[in-house]
Amino acid sequence: MSGHSSYEPKTGIERWLDARLPIVRLAYDSVVAYPTPKNLNYWWTFGGILAVCLATQIITGVILAMHYVASADHAFNSVEHIMRDVNHGWMIRFIHANGASMFFLAVYVHIARGLYYGSYKAPREVLWILGCIIYLLMMATAFMGYVLPWGQMSFYGAVVITNLFSAFDGIIPGLGTAITTWLWGGFAVDAPTLNRFFSLHYLLPFMIAGVVGLHIWALHVPGNNNPTGVEVKSKEDTVPFHPYYTVKDGFAIVVFFILFAWFVFYAPDALGHADNYIPANPLQTPAHIVPEWYFLPFYAMLRAVPDKLMGVLVMFGSIALLFAVPWLDTSKVRSMRYRPTARWFFLIFVATVFFLGWCGGQLPDDVVIPVGRNELGQPTGFTVVWLSRILAVYYYAYFLVVLPLLGLMEKPLKVPDSISTPVLSGGGAALPAGAHASPEKKG
């Protein structure tokens, strides 16, 4: 998509098409000849894995829409119809439902890789922001998709998430109510809400696909980052995308889909919630409602704040922060491979997100570290809500304090001169004779 094209049409029909719509040239330059750093590790295969996840979701989703009825009266039964009666319907629905989880699993690895290796730094800020937009669209899509079966968890998930906007009543009285009424198309989550969520759930994946196109475009302008974080200096630092990374990505995709298939065929409901097999009842909330696992860290932050408006702002803010990361990190060194102190803070950050996720699945008043017992004999002490507060503070501090200050204060390790130097000479020294032999001739 950028730079000089090395495509040479070989047949007459290719030349004819190339002069009219150079689409083969575009594909050749993007996925065949595209020069890719030669040191990408397996963390870099998640982009390809995500592309396959999106395709899987769109294909299974379009098929499910052939059998699903978007109506408050029929939605639940039509999902049961898919599960019991439609040929292979159970499998297609389980692929779609577990596919959402797999999609988020892959996107979290992909985001963490970007944070660790500094893939958001100049000149890749737009690439990073487009990724953040994709993540937001994914969250909206997953949320609306979860509502469609119209079970108890679907219904109360929709109630809680749409009610987040009612917090704006705390800024301008009536504003939040106007927004929720508009979102619902009534005075509560009801039939009109289900219909519009279905419409948008069908639309958004195609918007995601569009932004993915921009994301790849923005990737191919500066080219890939790599584990050293050092920009490509010469042709010696790169290999053509095909066959090197088509094979590497392909292998990773197969491994990832083994995990995916294990969930679909052996534990298809493990990531779901049993209450969603009870039809939606607007008059009775289930005793313990939790979001899907991929939203739990944010849910924990929402509950960590005792004030409604502040809780909502803290939750949305935790995602908004991601957009600012390219400007919050002041370090001149891109990859944390050469930032030993930053690596520790990053490790704690990842652990923080995991523990926040755990907290999001517990009841707020559950005791984590029992200190004593109250008069009823129940344990008292350090509760989940307090743990969530400490973790939420670190989550924010990582972006607002650690990234800006550490970049100015730390002393990074010596960064290699190029991608090739550390591999070929054990660091920095001049290249030994013969090091320039092309890699594809080495068996």
Partner: protein, 189 residues
Amino acid sequence: MVEIYNANPTVDAGHSAEHPADDPSRRDFIHIAAGAAAVGGVATLVWPLVDQMNPSGDTLALASIEFDLSKTVAGQQTVVKWRGKPVFVRNRTPAEIQAARRDDNAPMKDPQRDEDRVKEGKDQWLVLVGVCTHLGCVPNFGTGEYGGWFCPCHGSVYDTSGRIRKGPAPKNLEVPTYAFVSDTRIKIG
């Protein structure tokens, strides 16, 4: 600045002598007028596309219901569906009323007296929208430390007057507009 050269001064002579051909005020006016018309046109077009998501006519028409109170015995509540939401109709025991009134001056997030939340002379009937003011879940009857309601979603505790006493909810459970049409019937909405 782009200078506009009058290509044919003989045709436009009088005009260009008094007013230069690139008279900025005339051009600005055309630009502003065209821009304003475009913005107004787009806004008129977009508004119906946005407003269609607001409640439709038949949804708005389902605005009031009647309920026969004799179905609810003392110490219990009945849940009725009104505008898609649950409404709690609670027949309070004297002890519950007393507990609510005793706490009238207790520190509260949204202070309100119990007698302001019921109809005069109908102290035992508490009618509330059964939607937690935090994030909209339906609180469970008779649970929580004040014997009112407890919301299972995020742990808000309401007392026997439906006032918020503990937890993240910002406001008391809402008292809907309702009236006694007879001694044993109310009209909600």
